[in-house]
């Protein structure tokens, strides 16, 4: 029943999506509003049908209907409700379903919100969005159908991958990441609509800015939460391993970040029109490429790829996107001439251009490093990988220059910055940066890169804080408001600018967290008899006992460790190993004690059966919490930037009104 209904609704949604794309284009070309309206209806219908399919799948999961293969593989009688519900995105078929649902929801919102303002572009944007939906619906309806049934149904299912039921972060990390991927479809659709209609002025740029910031915000959260999940669940003490899956999410983030910056140049100076379109196309293609990379099996070997059915389809889809988009771009290049020109090399324009070059260089290095094993296998027949050392060697210096530019970019004047203004803006940040590196060196930071990282982080942070302080003071002097009111009104008056500055502050926190937790990492692995302790850093960790218990879906062996700091007991920590019936090997569950100053991370590596001794890995990683905090600040900044503004909705042109002109006071 569920299987039939599910298959039917997905197939119907596919048909409607294709129909809607067709009538939208026909309606626009023949100027038939009824057809365009029908296309809009298709967006609603697709959303309704996909929502229905998602609900069906949830009903099957929660109702433990093991006649559906997906449920039999990813659900089990013993799995707790939360992990049963989120098993929707625990495996390929279900996650494609979630992907389509988010895409359908965003398409609906975009068509609803932008429909009234952009009558010419909307049919084409609708058609593009429906085509993307159709591709994924095709995957879900045929090769990766989540509603495949099995006969006879098993008595119990296998349950989700143990790693996916070890932490509640799994409930928000994938949806965030998918929203971040899928969100870029909207700017892409409007870019394509602008190219098709030839309305290449400011209109599409203004439309997509908010959508792209939203997609960017979700992507940022998805990436940071992914790192957090990896840190809390995988039990290796790290949060980022330059793994292909992580890299795949970083690529569109990098090009998307580049876009968010150069789009400002286009808005203000009418330059870089082709560049921005190319960035949007690239970013969107990379989101699809990321799914392809992680879902097609190409990374395990070329052979696995040729056996997988969805891999070639993805590749064909990406080829189609790239070919048609860039073909359109070339065809329309006449209408994309720059109206402004670069006035000076010392200006915000050049800072942003430099930032773009570096972000793209960063992205290219990540791309190359990720695909290197494949490329070398294809070209030279030997499988060569470049691991973490490559990414660190190449990307750390690029990242450092980017942080420097992050401090400069928002404060340097447009067009041409005078030396006097540069001096006034950057003297204090530079002095404090030197001071910062001095302090860092005093507390034991050694080496060029780490010292630079701290110095530049201080530099960027001070520029942001100085900007907020000066703006607030100026406003207070003019209006006579209190400090907090002035600050909040300042932010509200140009949300995008101050939202962006808040994002930069978040980046600084992340950079400090990553640097400190990398260079001051302490690590020790020992086997302890009961009652014995190990010292690491400020802590003394004592092995108290080993206990075992049966939980519904697993058997847990847990160690109890008392943690002392200067002879005072500060915590009792319980890392464990969990045995799932579906797995032959236990899954470790780490225990992390987080403080703003440092994380104490315990891993139970091994134990003897009688519980007399246990092997424990102890890690101390300073300032890890700052990374998660920085991620939250970045998301907050994005939210500030896109928060609806009543005055803007009153059809006022979107010009930044700045009470305080940077670099020109």
């Amino acid at each position: 029943m569920i299987s039939t209904l599910g298959r039917f609704s997905l197939a119907l949604a596919l048909g409607i999506a294709l129909y809607g794309a067709l009538v939208s284009i026909l309606g626009a070309q023949r100027r038939r509003p009824a057809l365009v309206e029908s296309g809009r209806g298709a967006v609603f219908a697709v959303f309704g049908l996909v929502t229905f399919a998602v609900l069906l799948m949830e009903a099957a999961l929660v109702g433990r209907d093991f006649s559906i293969q997906y449920v039999a593989r990813n659900g089990s009688l013993g799995t707790p409700l939360l992990y049963t519900v989120i098993a929707l995105w625990g495996a390929l078929e279900g996650s494609i379903l979630l992907w389509i649902w988010i895409l359908a929801l965003m398409s609906l919102l975009a068509v609803q919100i932008e429909g009234k303002r952009h009558r010419e572009m909307i049919p084409y944007a609708t058609a593009v969005l429906l085509c993307i939906s159709a591709f994924f619906l095709f995957l879900a309806a045929f090769p990766a159908n989540p509603f495949k049934s099995i006969f006879p149904p098993p008595i119990d299912g296998r349950g989700p991958n143990p790693l996916l039921q070890n932490h509640p972060l799994m409930a928000i990390h994938p949806p965030c990441l998918y929203a971040g991927y899928v969100g870029w479809s909207i700017p892409y659709a409007f870019a394509m609509a602008a190219l098709i209609t030839g309305r290449l002025g400011d209109e599409w740029i203004r439309t997509v800015r908010r959508w792209s910031i939203m997609a960017w915000g979700f992507l940022t959260m998805g990436i940071i939460l992914g790192g957090w999940w990896s840190y809390a669940v995988l039990g290796w003490g790290g949060y980022w391993a330059w793994d292909p899956v992580e890299n795949a999410s970083l690529l569109p983030w990098l090009t998307g970040t580049a876009f968010l910056h150069t789009v400002m140049i286009q808005e203000r100076r009418k330059m870089l029109k082709v560049w921005n379109l190319a960035l949007i196309i690239t970013t969107f293609s990379l989101t699809i490429f990321g799914t392809f990379l992680t879902r097609s099996g190409i990374l395990s070997s070329v052979h696995a790829f040729s056996e997988s059915t969805i891999g070639p389809m993805f590749l064909a889809f990406i080829a189609l996107i790239l070919f048609s988009s860039f073909w359109l771009l070339v065809k329309r290049s006449d209408g994309l001439k720059a109206e402004g020109d670069l006035d000076s090399l010392i200006s915000r324009e050049s800072a942003f251009l430099m930032n773009n070059l570096l972000l793209l260089g960063f992205a290219f290095a990540v791309f190359l490093g990720t695909l290197f094993p494949l490329l070398s296998e294809a070209v030279r027949g030997v499988k060569v990988s470049v691991g973490e050392p490559f990414f660190n060697k190449v990307n750390v210096p690029i990242g450092l220059v980017l942080i420097f530019l992050m401090g400069i970019g928002p404060l340097i004047a447009w067009r041409r910055a005078s030396l006097e203004s540069l001096r006034r803006t950057f003297t204090v940040p530079l002095l404090l940066a030197f001071l910062g590196s001095g302090v860092a060196s005093f507390v034991g930071v050694r080496g060029l890169y780490p010292l630079l990282a701290f110095a530049l982080a201080v530099f960027a942070a001070v520029t942001v804080l100085q900007e907020f302080a000066r703006g607030t003071l100026t406003r207070r002097r003019i209006t006579g408001e209190g400090y907090l009111t002035a600050l909040s009104n300042l932010t509200r008056r140009s949300r995008r600018r101050y939202g962006g500055l808040i994002v930069h502050l978040g980046v600084v926190l992340v950079v400090i967290g990553i640097t400190a937790s990398t260079i001051f990492k302490l690590e020790k692995e020992v086997t302890l008899e009961r009652g014995e302790s190990v010292h690491l850093g400020r802590y003394q960790v004592r092995f108290d006992e080993l206990t075992a218990r049966q939980e519904p879906q697993r058997f847990v062996v847990e160690g109890t460790f008392s943690v002392f700091n200067a002879a005072r007991k500060v915590a009792e920590m319980r890392p464990s190993k969990r045995f799932y019936s579906s797995e032959q090997q236990p899954i470790g569950s780490v225990h992390v004690r987080s403080t703003p100053r440092e994380d104490l991370y315990l891993i139970l590596s091994s134990f003897t059966r009688d519980g007399a001794s246990a092997t424990l890995k102890v890690l101390i990683r300073p300032l890890v919490m700052w990374i998660w905090l920085g991620g939250a600040v970045m998301a907050l900044g994005a939210l500030v930037a896109i928060w609806p503004d009543r005055r803007v909705l009153a059809a006022e042109p979107l010009k930044e009104r700045v009470a305080w002109q940077p670099g020109r006071s």
């Binding site: 625990g90 495996a91 390929l92 991958n161 790693l163 996916l164 990896s230 995988l234 039990g235 391993a241 899956v245 992580e246 992680t294 879902r295 097609s296 099996g297 990374l299 395990s300 070997s301 052979h303 696995a304 056996e307 997988s308 059915t309 020109d341 670069l342 090399l345 050049s350 430099m354 070059l357 570096l358 260089g361 290219f364 290095a365 190359l368 490093g369 290197f372 094993p373 030997v382 499988k383 060569v384 990988s385 470049v386 691991g387 050392p389 490559f390 990414f391 060697k393 190449v394 690029i398 692995e525 020992v526 086997t527 190993k577 090997q585 590596s605 091994s606 003897t608 001794s613 092997t615």
Partner: protein, 149 residues
């Protein structure tokens, strides 16, 4: 105007060249070759002091672990040749006899491979592809690999 554009272009070229050099140097230094026990044995002495990723199956009965010293030793095989591997640390969760593993490290003296990393989770990565294998299984395999990250 053109003068500025030329300068900008020159600047961009310099930066791009620097990036290219960084990437080139990074690949030269960080390249790690995948190798099988047979290939490693063939190389013999010429393999000394180079980093490799050695992939194979842990020979049943060869796994020894000493909890006090944390010394882990085992044999990796590709069906033809065997290589003795030594590692300091406890065996990772998914690591066991009869299963695939990739170890990263250097081939030292005494015909001993000193591994600094054991990638048991990624064992699928190195399994020789089997013709005619079910597609669903392949997908599932890839998927599991992804989700363990």
């Amino acid at each position: 105007m053109t003068n500025k554009k030329t300068k900008l272009l020159l600047g961009a070229i310099v930066v791009a060249a620097a990036l290219g050099y960084l990437i080139y140097g990074g690949i030269r230094e960080a390249a790690v070759y995948y190798i099988t026990p047979t290939e490693l044995k063939e190389k013999g002495g010429s393999a000394a002091d180079k980093s490799f990723r050695l992939g194979g199956m842990v020979v049943p009965g060869s796994l020894h672990w000493e909890p006090q010293s944390l010394r882990l030793t085992f044999l990796l095989t590709d069906g033809k040749e065997q290589v003795a591997v030594e590692h300091t640390g406890s065996p990772p969760d998914l690591f066991k006899e009869g299963a695939g593993a990739i170890v990263e490290g250097k081939y030292g003296t005494r015909n001993l491979f000193i591994a600094n990393t054991i990638l048991a989770k990624h064992s699928e990565e190195y399994r020789p592809p089997q013709p005619g294998q079910a597609q669903a299984k392949d997908l599932y395999r890839t998927l599991m690999k992804e989700e363990q990250r």
